[in-house]
Amino acid sequence: MDLFDLAAANLISPPILFFLLGLVAALVRSDLAIPEAVAKGISIYLVMAIGFKGGAEMAASPLVAAAMAIVAGIVLSAALPFISFNALRLTSRLPRVDAAAIAAHYGSISIVTFIAASDAGMAMGLAAAGFMVAVAAAMEAPAIFSGLALAGRREGEGGGGTMIREIAFNDSIVLLIGAFAIGWATGERGMTMVQPFFGDIFRGVLCLFLLDMGLVAGRGLRRSAGKLEWRVLVHGLYMPLIGAAIALGLAALIGLEPGSAALLMTLAASASYIAVPAAMRLALPEADPSVSLTLSLGITFPFNLVFGIPLYFAAAQWALG
C-alpha cells in the first residue's frame, strides 16, 4: 500500500470515523457526552488489553531487541523535550516555565495514540513486536524530569521523592507493565482464556473510546484554541513530525522492523495528556495548564490519529520495509 491508500484506509476505518464524529459533535455544541466513570473504565480496559497482548507475544521476541528498543524509547523521551523547549522559546514569547511544561508533554507519550496505531497496524497486516508495549511504558516518565530540568527546578522542590514515586507508580504505567508481565507469564494459554474480551471486542471498544476522545478534544479546542498564539499552535503540528523523524532514525539504527518502527515513531510523535499534565500541576503549578493541554489533546492528538499514523506507517515501510 502506498501512503495515499494507507491514509484512505485509515480515514474510513470505524475507530477514526467515530473520533471525527465526536470532534464534530463537540464543535457543533451537541450535548453528547460519555460519563467520566465509563471513559475511565474503558481506558483501563484498553491499557490492560494492549499490555496483556504485548506480553503474550513476548515469547516470539528476542530480549536483546526488546532492551535496545526500550533504551531508544527512554532516549527519545528524555531528549525530545529539549528540542520542543528550544523551538518554543525561539518562535514564541511563552514564559520559560510554560515552554518547559509543554516540552515535557511532547517527550512523553499518549497511550491512546499508541493503541490506535497498534490497531491500525494490525488492520494493515503490519504487526509490531510485543515489547513495544514495554517501550511505551518506559517513555512515560523520563520526559517529566527533562521538563523539570528545563524549568530550572531542582528535584527537592515541589515534592521531590514523593513525586518520583508518584510518577513511577503512576496508574497507567503500573497497569501497562503489570498486564504485560501477566501476558508474558501466561503466554499463549492465558491469551486464549481471555481472547474474547481482550481481543475480539477490542476494536469495537476502541470506537466507543475514540468517540469520547473526539468529544473531549473538540470541547478543548472550542474552549481555548482561539486563545493560543499561532506560533504555539503550529508547534502541535511540526513537533510530532520532528519526533517521528528522529524515532525513524533510531529505529533504523537498532534494526526494528517496519511495524515496530512505526509504533516507535507514533510514541515519539504523540504528546501526553494524562500523566504529564497531572505531574506538571504538582511540580510546576505556575505553568498554565490550558495551553499545554489544548496543544496535546486538541491539536497533536487529532493530527496524529488522522494524518500522523498512516504517515508513520508509510514512512517506516518505505525506509525499512
Binding site: A33, I34, P35, E36, A39, K40, S43, G159, D212, L215, V216, R219, R223, S224, Y273, I274, P277, A278, R281, L282, P285, E286, D288, P289, S290, L293
Partner: protein
C-alpha cells in the same frame, strides 16, 4: 439543644493536588474533613466540565472541614503555604455543632 460555634472551611481545589492537601490536614491534626466531587465550574482560569474526561487535570474537588475557631488561623496558614500557587478558592463560615467531642484536634492522623 446545646451547640458550640465552629468554623466551616470550604476549599475548592484542583484534583491533582488533593492528596497533598489531605497530607497537610492530616499533619496539622485537623480532626476531620469530607471531599465532594465537583462536575463543572468557572473561575479566572475559564470554564470546565467533567463529562467524558479521563484525566484529573482541570477538575475541581470540594473539601470541607469543620474545625474549632481556635485552630482556624493555623490551618489557613498551612493550607495557603502549600496551595498558594494552585488553582482554587477558600472560604470560611460559622456553623454550630451539636456533639462537640467530635472535633477535638488530634495529634496526627493515621495514614
Amino acid at each position: 439543644m446545646q451547640t458550640t460555634l465552629k468554623k466551616r472551611i470550604e476549599i475548592v481545589i484542583e484534583a491533582p493536588v488533593i492528596d497533598r492537601l489531605r497530607r497537610v490536614l492530616d499533619d496539622k491534626g485537623v480532626s476531620g474533613y469530607t471531599i465532594v466531587p465537583a462536575v463543572a465550574g468557572r473561575g479566572k482560569h475559564g470554564r470546565w466540565n467533567r463529562e467524558g474526561e479521563i484525566s484529573d487535570t482541570g477538575r475541581m474537588m470540594v473539601l470541607f472541614a469543620i474545625v474549632d475557631p481556635s485552630e482556624l488561623d493555623d490551618m489557613l496558614a498551612a493550607v495557603y503555604a502549600v496551595l498558594s500557587r494552585q488553582i482554587g478558592i477558600v472560604s470560611v463560615s460559622d456553623v454550630q455543632v451539636v456533639r462537640d467531642e467530635h472535633f477535638r484536634r488530634t495529634r496526627r492522623a493515621d495514614t
